[in-house]
Subunit: 347 residues, 2 copies
């Protein structure tokens, strides 16, 4: 809990100094945040709503590479990926707890920079930082964030509620974050091989921002609520569209039809993908980290959903016996496989 | 969130295999646990109570040494230290989320053993495991646990409520966990120097159990509640009595008097401490990880508190201007300093 650190001193300012530094600026914004950092635990009052809680752990060298990830962006993204899970339940995030372990190679300034990004995300999404833990590690950095949200009981949206004929919708566009990562990896390799050639990142702004500073789709949840739409199922796209649609179909015991030419891919993503000899459609199906929302709505909601900006209807839910297929632009059926991020990476 | 893992394969059974293995036995026990692992987030219904939430991160080589810590004990302890924080707010824990990062040197069997301890603690304390994250790391193991509890609004106990003349109480006995650690470190050193002499752990059962398998004082919270006692302030002893009493006095804006000969130390702890040339009183003041509860009650509760087993009254709260002092057995005053675990370790 906040106020406690690991058993070895963390840098020259000491554990209490670091905690003070990282928490002194915190002011609670939400009515539901009763007590924040500084006691054994935080206290939250959800009123008469249910609590939604999720956690994600990011480890250096696996989830992020500090060679090309600015610490401020990392802090921001670490918060956003957790909030995305709260939105994917149709909830409203209210609080986060941040646990961090760092080795001696990290300076106080670096940790402050990371927290700048964390605070910025809290500001942006109106979330309170109410606790955490700061400790040392023998090597590397690990960030573990827990996000807490609330929702009215009858409005929780699970993965399991999709019904036959429901429309399959996706927010924003797909594939950008994966292309952004490929660009960063390419420039890192060139830099290492050349012994110091400066990276060429011009012309890649869109995909780099999708990778380094993704946003959670708070705006979509708000728009759905304003239009009195409660999705029948929902998930956020962290592992790729294929993998997530299969999660929904498996949990809901249904099949699906997804139309290839309805999958939203921006011009920039397409152009950059082709430059890298990657197939945009495959990337948008299997590239991860887009943090867009994938959800299903009743066909009765069609008139309302079609008026909301940034939402694409990409297909519909089918009977389980009809299987899970993508319909290609030539009308042929391709079975949707759960490749996801992993397999793509190992290709 | 549970259901997601890191972006690289974790061992030969793969990410989905591992998640299935670790979660298939989970059955929700608490009415407040609405939805557990398997969606973007868990859902909890606290009824009309407030939510208490805390998190702790344990890193290999800093908080635990796998040379002498059985993985099952580690899993158990990792849960217990978090529950202890919930009890220290006078709350009742209901759920935990477990995030784990492990390097390739860990086998599936090792992770299962760790989870056996986690499940055992959940069983023992009637807590549901409702989510988490399992991912890989480049080196070592990091465990981050978040515990969620609930409490009636008017019964939350903070560190800041102690008043002049309140009695200072402590549960159980102190110093054992620290002595246990010293024994383990000694035997590890001897083992390394001798090239394999088997450790001598007989006669140290009590202190070793305090170190390797501590318990959170659920029984004390229950006894206080049954006796209609709501402490005025409370904290759990993770860093040592000195440090924790200063936390209470600082937060409550008071001073204190603690009587040295009232501090509970068992015969075993004393004997083992002397063998190690350590001063039992100093160890009980500054040794960490006892996870006993330190709390204050109104003097009006004296008749009731004195009938509860396992609680020692060790002093009283004084005016801030009177300072924070321990009264030695010869009547002399010694200022209480926040040495805590750290300084002791660096001596």
């Amino acid at each position: 809990m906040a106020g406690e650190t690991g058993k070895k001193e963390l840098g020259k300012i000491g554990e209490f100094g670091l905690i003070r530094l990282l928490t002194e600026k915190i002011k609670l914004k939400n009515k539901s945040s009763i007590l924040g950092v500084g006691d054994d635990a935080a206290v939250i009052d959800p009123g008469d709503r249910q609590i939604i809680i999720t956690t994600d752990m990011l480890t250096e060298g696996i989830h992020f590479d500090l060679v090309y990830t600015p610490l401020k962006h990392l802090g921001y993204k670490a918060v956003v990926v957790n909030l995305s899970d709260i939105y994917a339940m149709n909830g409203e995030p209210g609080q986060i707890l941040v646990s961090l372990s760092v080795s001696a190679r990290f300076t106080t300034e670096m940790i402050e920079e990371l927290y700048e990004g964390i605070h910025l995300a809290c500001e942006q999404y109106k979330v309170d930082l109410v606790g955490g833990d700061t400790t040392s590690s023998l090597t590397g950095m690990t960030i573990s964030i827990t996000a807490i949200g609330a929702v009215e009981k009858e409005k929780v949206v699970l993965r399991s509620g999709a019904k036959e004929n429901d429309l399959i919708c996706v927010s924003g566009d797909l594939g950008g974050a994966y292309i952004g990562l490929q660009i960063l990896e390419r420039e890192k390799m060139l830099f290492n091989q050349s012994g110091g050639i400066q990276p060429e990142l011009e012309g890649y702004d869109y995909v780099l921002e999708k990778q380094l500073k993704p946003e959670a789709r708070k705006d979509i949840i708000k728009a759905l609520s304003e239009n009195n739409i409660v999705p029948t199922s929902m998930i956020d796209i962290s592992d790729g569209l294929s993998s997530e649609i299969l999660h929904i179909c498996n949990a809901s015991n249904t099949g699906c039809r997804v139309y290839a030419d309805k999958i939203p891919i921006t011009h920039e993503t397409k152009k950059n993908a082709e430059e890298l000899n990657l197939e945009p459609l495959s990337i948008s199906l299997n590239g991860g980290e887009d943090y867009e929302l994938l959800f299903t709505v009743s066909i009765n909601d069609y008139p309302k959903i079609s008026t909301i900006e940034s939402i694409s209807i990409i297909g519909h839910i089918a009977k389980k016996t009809e299987g899970t297929y993508m319909v290609a632009s030539d009308g042929s059926f391709i079975e949707i496989m759960s490749l996801g991020w992993n397999s793509l990476k190992n290709e």
